[in-house]
């Protein structure tokens, strides 16, 4: 043993007798050896200090050493060591533990946390399952919420948002929240008395040249004071100044979007002042937008901003002057003291003034304002999207509820195990609050762990979703991130979950009416009263799982039907290309036409290619293209007296290439190009406007009054969605090529992939520098766009349904296995009395399955009600589709049976003697 360093007062001469000290050390367990030795040595020193003679002090010391109850000390030390290891006790532990009174007033104590952690670590299986269930539920909620947040809620980094309003013009259909024209905007800017400032933006795409590889980028044309009005500071450089937006085309300047700056320009800190090439022209960078502002369109990320005055340079000409060309979104800041009602009144008067001054373009066009805070995408769309978002959030909310039900169920079981201990403590007067809080701490810890794990899961899910981008042709960057709002949401949900599934078991377990519990000690059969709550939980889980799975089943079937719908055109192998000659430097219409001619010729030279056609719009493509037509003899209620009809410009070979039948009259012919203006209309057009008549040879007019002769009637095709009823359609023979370029349809022998390769190769030959709106794609990929929403719905619901099924299965397993454990004695008795393994299994399962059946019935009824709401989104099947409502219950029952069978079987294999002896 190490010799202690003698201090000044305890020199060899003044210290206790060495022999006694040695004996002391030999007899004492290390646990208190030091303390006791110290005490005795101290007492000896004090005796000496008080003036006692040496001999007496030594004698006293000897007496203490000899009368030590070393055995008792050693035993006590051993027992203490088992419960609380010395290393732990010797940790310096200053903290507020010094004052027990403070902590006893709170219903909580830091020790509770440590004990809770230890309890959780001691049952790793339960903890793992619990955290996982929570992570799944919380993760799903977080992921869904971040999507909704990105699309609908979006925190714009603008200042004084309550002052900002969106200003809309109504369109020819009477739709209130449409875009405005540039001249109207200029007039409003100058001539209003309610706004401090009015600014505008419009979207565009342009070719951006990066190190020689051209790419199509999404951009906005904005007023020079757009950012200033919104209160957004540039990250680098400056925003635009007034003179840069004063005269058309004179100031090619650009502000880069933050993501473009980071991804395409390597976040170059010296970017300001350099040139960026848009559509083949240099634009000087004057600034970089901040990271928090991704543009005025939700979800889409704007790559660049240029002044409005560059519109005609960047896009096809004449847009700035045309009062009738409406593509601008306007925002304004209210003057102090002006209310939204006053602003709207002023706008009404202003619109009336415009109507009078410019009757051809502004008749019945009314401007209105809506507070920016109330708008997510567009007031009309919001009305549809918000309930959909609500529905999705409800779905994931249900999943989380199921997870919580699972956990509540498990916790009830654990609480039951401790009920004896809890009952005794309660009887002795322990505070119920304190006990409940101890139990709650455990569940809160679980909830926190689940929340953290859920966040990780959500991040993965979001990353996955962003990788599976919808097959949109527009070059978008979708920005869904876990921002502060989302984190707050997750934390809130986790806490709620923790309380939700923890409170009930805690309250239940600490119920002051404990007498029955204490008395039931001997029977060991479990208290039926308690079982009802867990049973109720299982019923709820099963019911909700039913709802989710039936919903999933319906959407899957709907998807199948959607995929089987005949769109009206040939969906066989084909390639689709979308070149944009105007962005590749082809300036005159003749050049553009020449390009397409050469391209078409070369394609047809390939033996595998049988048909080539051009169209500015393909059926079931993105975007809606309508024009006004005057139909003789058919009155209209719109302000302009015309009818808005979907249309497309197509080449003469279109109908053959697309496999669209001409039911009457003829298709376009090659030499029709120089003849009078002619159109082909769809059967639905005839049925809607001139039912029963023969339209071939008759004329309709454009909105401007030009005649269009109908030369043929085409069979119907789907135009906008797969589920629509037949839609009137007008085909024009390819006229002047529009800004967006004509799409090229290539049909032939071989697979789509082969045709795509041929198209790519031919294009490279003809014009290697051609800019494409999107990659050359197959016909299937084109259709995939339309099938995207039903696919996503089916996928999401199936995933959530499977999740719910898994959780419900775990719930059933838990309940049955617990019940079986409780009944071990009883089952043992039965087996020793001659019950077979089969009988035992049946008895054990019986209770569990009864719950499942009840839950199933409730679930089916609920499902029928809920899916009625979603019936609008289902193709071709009713919301009470028999197939779905029959198979899902079978599936669920099967899973439940299995979940119940496993523990039941285990019970039947137990040795009856052991069962009898156990409690």
């Amino acid at each position: 043993m190490a010799e202690s360093r003698p201090g000044p007062a305890a020199s060899d001469a003044g210290g206790p007798p060495r022999l006694a000290l040695a004996l002391l050390r030999r007899r004492l367990p290390d646990e208190v050896a030091e303390a006791i030795e110290g005490d005795l040595v101290d007492a000896h020193a004090r005796a000496l200090a008080e003036g006692r003679p040496r001999v007496v002090a030594d004698a006293l010391f000897w007496r203490e050493v000899l009368t030590l109850r070393a055995g008792a000390l050693r035993r006590a030390a051993r027992r203490l060591e088992a419960v609380r290891p010395t290393t732990e006790r010797n940790r310096p532990d200053r903290a507020a533990n010094r004052d027990p009174d403070f902590w006893s007033k709170l219903p909580m104590h830091p020790n509770d946390f440590r004990y809770a952690i230890r309890r959780l670590l001691r049952s790793p299986g339960f903890t793992a399952v619990a955290v996982l269930s929570l992570a799944l539920g919380i993760g799903a909620n977080t992921a869904m919420f971040s999507i909704v947040n990105a699309v609908l809620i979006r925190d714009l980094p603008v200042t004084d948002r309550h002052e900002l309003v969106e200003v809309y013009s109504s369109d020819s259909d009477g739709f209130q929240y449409a875009t405005s024209s540039h001249p109207d905007y200029l007039d409003l800017r100058e001539g209003n008395d309610v706004f401090r400032n009015v600014v505008a933006t419009r979207t565009t795409i342009a070719r951006i040249d990066l190190d020689g590889r051209p790419r199509v980028a999404f951009g906005e044309l904005i007023s020079w004071d757009y950012f200033q009005t919104l209160g957004i500071e540039m990250e680098l450089g400056r925003s635009f100044v007034a003179e840069e937006d004063a005269t058309p085309g004179t100031h090619p300047v650009v502000i880069l979007g933050h993501r473009t700056w980071t991804q395409d320009f390597g976040a170059d800190p010296d970017i300001v002042g350099s040139d960026v090439w848009l559509n083949g022209r240099p634009y000087t960078v004057v600034g970089v937008a901040p990271k928090a502002y991704t543009g005025s369109m939700p979800v889409l990320v704007t790559g660049f901003f240029t002044p409005l005055m560059m519109t005609d340079v960047l896009m096809s000409g004449g847009q700035l002057e045309r009062r009738g060309s409406r593509s601008m979104f306007m925002k304004a800041r209210l003057l102090p003291g002006v209310s939204i009602e006053q602003a709207n009144a002023s706008l009404s008067a202003f619109s009336a003034g415009l109507e009078e001054a410019y009757p051809e373009t502004n008749e019945r066009r009314l401007m209105s304002a809506v507070p920016s805070g109330k708008v997510s995408l567009n007031p009309a769309v919001d009305r549809i999207l918000t309930p959909v978002a609500g529905l999705l959030l409800a779905v994931v909310g249900v999943v989380l509820l199921i997870a919580c039900a699972n956990l509540a169920s498990f916790l009830l079981a654990r609480a039951e195990d401790r009920r004896k201990e809890i009952a005794v403590r309660l009887a002795l007067g322990a505070g119920r609050k304190r006990l409940v809080s101890q139990l709650l701490i455990e569940t809160t810890l679980l909830a926190l762990m689940g929340g953290v794990a859920g966040l990780v899961l959500a991040q993965w899910t979001v990353d996955l979703l962003m990788a599976l981008q919808p097959p949109l042709p527009v070059p978008v960057d979708v920005e869904i991130s876990l921002d502060r709002t989302v984190l707050l949401f997750t934390a809130g949900v986790s806490m709620l979950a923790g309380v939700a599934f923890g409170l009930v078991p805690a309250l239940q377990a600490t119920n002051p009416d404990v007498a029955p519990t204490l008395k039931s000690e001997a029977t060991g059969s479990g208290v039926p009263r308690r079982f009802n709550l867990r049973g109720g939980l299982v019923v709820t889980q099963v019911a909700f799982s039913f709802v989710l799975l039936i919903g999933a089943g319906l959407f899957v079937r709907s998807l199948q039907k959607a995929q089987a719908i005949d769109p009206g055109f040939d969906t066989g192998p084909g390639a689709l290309a979308w070149p944009m000659p105007e962005l590749a430097g082809y300036e005159t219409p003749e050049d553009v036409e020449a390009f397409y001619d050469v391209f078409e010729q070369r394609l047809l030279e390939n033996p595998k290619v049988t048909h080539v056609a051009l169209a500015d719009r393909l059926p079931l493509g993105v975007g809606v293209q309508t024009n006004g037509y005057l139909l003789p003899g058919v009155p209209s209620e719109t302000p302009d007296g015309d009818h808005d009809i979907d249309n497309a410009n197509v080449s003469h070979g279109y109908f053959e290439a697309m496999g669209v039948e001409i039911v009457s009259g003829r298709a376009f012919a090659r030499d029709d190009l120089d003849a009078e203006r002619m159109v082909i209309v769809s059967q639905a057009f005839v049925d809607r406007y001139y039912p029963g008549e023969d339209l071939v040879g008759r004329s309709i007019q454009t909105a401007g009054g030009d005649d269009l002769r109908i030369v043929g009637i085409a069979a119907n095709t789907k135009v906008r969605t797969l589920g629509e009823s037949p839609r009137p359609y007008v085909y024009h023979l390819q006229g002047q090529v529009m800004f967006f370029g004509m799409q090229v349809v290539v049909k032939g022998q071989g697979t789509s992939e082969e045709l795509v390769a041929i198209t790519r190769a031919t294009l490279d030959e003809v014009e290697p520098d051609m800019v494409l709106f999107e990659e050359i794609k197959t016909m299937n990929e084109h259709l995939a766009l339309l099938l995207f929403p039903p696919r996503m719905a089916a996928l999401l619901l199936s995933v959530f349904g499977a999740l719910a099924l898994l959780l419900a299965g775990i719930g059933v397993y838990g309940v049955v296995s617990y019940a079986v454990a409780k009944r071990t004695r009883e089952l043992g008795i039965r087996m020793s009395l001659g019950a077979s393994a089969g009988d035992v299994i049946r008895m054990a399962i019986g209770g569990g399955m009864r719950l499942v059946i009840v839950g199933g019935v409730v679930g089916i009824v609920l499902a029928a009600g809920v899916t009625w709401v979603a019936s609008d989104y289902l193709f071709g099947i009713s919301s009470t589709d028999v197939v779905t409502f029959a198979t899902i219950p079978l599936l669920l029952t099967g899973v439940a049976l299995f979940a119940a069978w496993v523990p039941a079987r285990r019970a039947s294999r137990v040795d009856p003697v052991r069962a009898l002896r156990s409690e």
Binding site: S4, R5, P6, G7, P8, A9, A10, G15, P16, E31, V32, E34, A35, I36, E37, G38, D39, L40, V41, D42, A43, A45, R46, E64, T67, L68, R69, A70, A72, L73, A76, A77, R79, L80, V83, R84, R89, N90, R91, P92, D93, N97, R98, P100, D101, W103, S104, H109, N111, E421, V424, R425, L428, G429, A430, G431, R434
Partner: protein
């Protein structure tokens, strides 16, 4: 960990002493407190056995103090009540008060 529900007579006194001593509750002082206030002379062994038992039951906690010269360079072991310990004390007190209620007028010593 085993939580005893019964607080022995000596255990109760020791716990009370620890509580009274606040920050300075080591074995030696507890012993002195008992002698002074309770008139109980307890051996060193008994004190420490009791303290260890209380710690095992979770009613007290201990930690190593600073070594001092007068103790021959040995560190003290200091004790404090845990909340469970305080609760146990309160329970015992409550039991006693309940029993005293209705047990008649206080005696001359009460």
């Amino acid at each position: 960990m085993p939580k005893g529900s019964h607080l022995g007579d000596l255990e109760e006194l020791v716990l009370l002493a620890v509580r009274r001593l606040g920050e300075e509750a080591d074995g030696g002082r507890v012993r002195e407190e008992l002698t002074e206030l309770a008139g109980r002379t307890v051996s060193v062994s008994t004190i420490y056995v009791t303290l260890m038992r209380l710690e095992e039951k979770g009613y007290a906690r201990s930690w190593k103090g600073e070594p001092t010269a007068t103790r021959g360079g040995k560190a003290k072991r200091l004790y404090a009540l845990t909340p469970e310990g305080l609760e146990a004390l309160e329970q015992v007190r409550a039991v006693r008060e309940r029993m005293w209620e209705g047990a008649g007028a206080r005696t001359a010593h009460g």
